[in-house]
Symmetry: D2
Subunit: 264 residues, 4 copies
């Protein structure tokens, strides 16, 4: 590259004083794409292309943060995603950006093989997840978000109708703080057993029969599904705190139904 | 306004010659918001806030179009939406932009009151629609796009299961060219009768019973719904051409099913 | 309607006891479409088609809420949107659903006419807003969310480059709790003066010159814009609490930059 | 699995005669997630998680297609994505579904390392791409879609303003039919050199200076960018046909500008 300005002589506008000296809670970047290794119960490691958001606080005395350092810190971080590796990233963000708080969010589709319930043929299904870490001084928080699509069969529709009941795809959105490592698969299964049925990518005729009959034997409102998932999370020994929201794409309406529970 | 440059002296960069003298098929703006009056079967007129895209062709000899004139032409157009008013807009775009082809697309939610099938209480439901006009020289085309959410009950699931059948929300997407004015409501109703059931915003218990039983007595695949809607459009005397796509948010899968038919 | 079941005899499944008697924080519907009258500084009233979410709490002893009553309560509410009318809606939701907490969110595009800064021609521009009310027992909260797209010119890029500076569209997202009525227009203008420039729908050449020069004379980072908007909200006598997030679609990156400030 | 119905005895509803015997142009599934190997110029192979749509035609005489066979055919296909492997998949879809036409679309983010133009530090950037194949009898078509975000600096704004010019992120959307293998990277670079500047993930101060000055020395309208990309595609010896659309998120407007060219 022939052209090469002298970077040392370029003014550092970010380090000027701001016109309004207010501290900024979080400043950073959104939507970086980053290849990430995830722990996978079935295969050891799963590689994905995550979407990454990074941020730090900024004191009242500085006009701007140095955003390229956020990207550099991520680039220098070569670990598989976990509680400890997240801490390394967050500490490096604090150091490199001279910040008291650092924050990182990794969003990714998590792929699993799933066997059909009767015939057993398997295929891929993906769950949208994210892992967020924050380091405030020395205190780290770690948040899992896991979105599990499921099927619900309406108990009211079933009870009042001569035949059938409306069913639909619903999404169980869980936010979870944990005290120790837990497989994502464990929470996904917990969500799936909260609903009328789990979803599948490959169902042959005997499987479709199985899923339909299973789902109709377990009719649940969004309220039921939210309560079941919340109950199961409450009982999980590794879960410190959780929120559950279930949103169902009602097949008889053009609007959705939802139910939300936060753990106390 | 104190500051007022002499616009006549500002260079007209758009009228320069381009580096690569290729004709441009369509150039314009996307996402203008514009209050629009629609013809409404029940109420005479329905006011909406449309999203508008406008475009014209550009000859090989000109570097750029004058995009502000697209906005000005729309602003000067004060008519309710229809075939004739669309022509006025398109002609004005041709004149104002010195173009041979002009194009306009209005997208809007179309609101209807809908009565529950048993109890009769009514509430609002909206359908995403668009109207696109193009004027190529003197030849005008006019395209309706109407998206109608419906319910489908799976005939296979019903036939093979001891009880129940999976149902889900599906979307019927119709593109229609017409020879004369037709109410949007007519096409919406045509789509709804193509499916297992229409959707409603307000259903009391007796209505939910009615809708469930009605839907389960009319189980349809996406293929069935696409064929029915296509057949009904084919039979409609005002329809010159149509395409139908039905996409269903399968309640047993995390992927969608679709069926597409283009009229010959 | 010939078919009419006896609704009194249909079982009320919602009133059964749930399997897991956990209280539900919020249960309801999302995505209702509803024609709404808004107070408009220039025109008195502005009619829009809002998207409405409604919810209530549900005690541990009841299996399900009666969702159709949420829709009925909204249908029976015929007022223009405001603090008092929101209270009526929330009280009616509490009464009709036998709930201790009720919640309603109205989301809508808010349309304004905006005059070009030099030539003065005017056109429409829309801002995505929402108003959320919650009634917990007798205690009401009221939250405005206003999203204002603006232009930012990068001060660093300007300071270090021989010519130019990258600019981009950015979005100022404000959440505001207020003590008395304030026009939406007031907060929109406050946000716009926080940025390098306001956006316009119709700009003639002299206006484009004006906007470019104005914006380049006021280069701001996302941090600057967040601080300015937060400062202006802090100074506003009607504002009890606010959060501001600015997100810019960086024109030199394929990711966004953001800055977030919460009032203390 | 204890429960195992006798699949042979379950009715095959799909093979019934439809009520309206109309041929269906395309029926299938949308939104399957599938791990896919892509050819990568820098690394040989790039693994991604694609989103897959599959479809076939359906004769007038059959009520439904067998959608699970679409999934099974994909699951049985274990090849890296290319012209020949696409043909195998399409042939297998025709055979397995007893169809005359088969169709497959793979959508994925394509990741590249990109070095900053002055300092040379590198980071990841992703481009949304898709590859679509169709087999009609024995005739195969193959379509690339590549979306390349870039920067545009407005030549008009630059010419008329005392200082600066508005710039913004824009997206170059290319649809391309090719006669032989071409690296995706080649088309991405071709798009990037059509614009005022390429985008980067990691830019230090000297790079930001470089990019700003480079972009301001090459101001282009969306019309210019569309013409340049179209011209470069026209000259490319492997390109049989192309369409280019450029859409820019104008930093002075809240609407977008676009220009579209189809090759003759």
């Amino acid at each position: 590259m022939a052209y090469m300005p002298n970077a040392d002589k370029l003014p550092d506008v970010q380090s000027l004083e701001p016109d309004f000296p207010r501290p900024i809670d979080r400043v950073g970047v959104r939507g970086l794409r980053f290849p990430l290794a995830l722990r996978d119960r079935a295969n050891g490691i799963q590689n994905c292309l995550a979407c990454v958001d990074l941020g730090v606080d900024l004191p009242a005395s500085l006009k701007g943060t140095h955003m390229s350092r956020l990207v550099e810190t991520l680039e220098a971080w070569k670990e598989e995603l976990g509680y400890e590796s997240m801490r390394h990233l967050l500490e490096n963000l604090q150091l490199r950006l001279v910040a008291s708080r650092s924050w990182a969010k990794f969003s990714f589709p998590y792929l699993m093989r799933k066997a059909a319930p009767a015939g057993g043929s398997s295929a891929n299904i993906a769950y949208d997840c994210s892992v967020t870490g924050e380091l405030d001084g020395n205190r780290q928080t770690f948040l899992l978000e896991i979105n599990v699509p499921v099927m619900t069969v309406c108990p009211c529709s079933k009870a009042i109708s001569r035949e059938g009941a409306h069913s639909q795809r619903a999404l169980i959105k869980m936010k979870i703080r944990i005290a120790r490592f837990v497989w994502l698969e464990e929470f996904i299964e917990l969500a799936e057993k909260s609903a009328s049925s789990s979803l599948y990518t490959l169902l042959k005729r005997e499987d479709e029969k199985y899923v339909t009959e299973m789902a109709f034997s377990r009719p649940f409102f969004v309220e039921d599904v939210a309560r079941r998932a919340s109950e199961f999370l409450e009982r999980h020994t590794a879960v410190l705190w959780h929120e559950v929201e279930v949103e169902s794409m009602e097949s008889i309406h053009n609007h959705n139904a939802f139910a939300f529970i936060a753990s106390k």
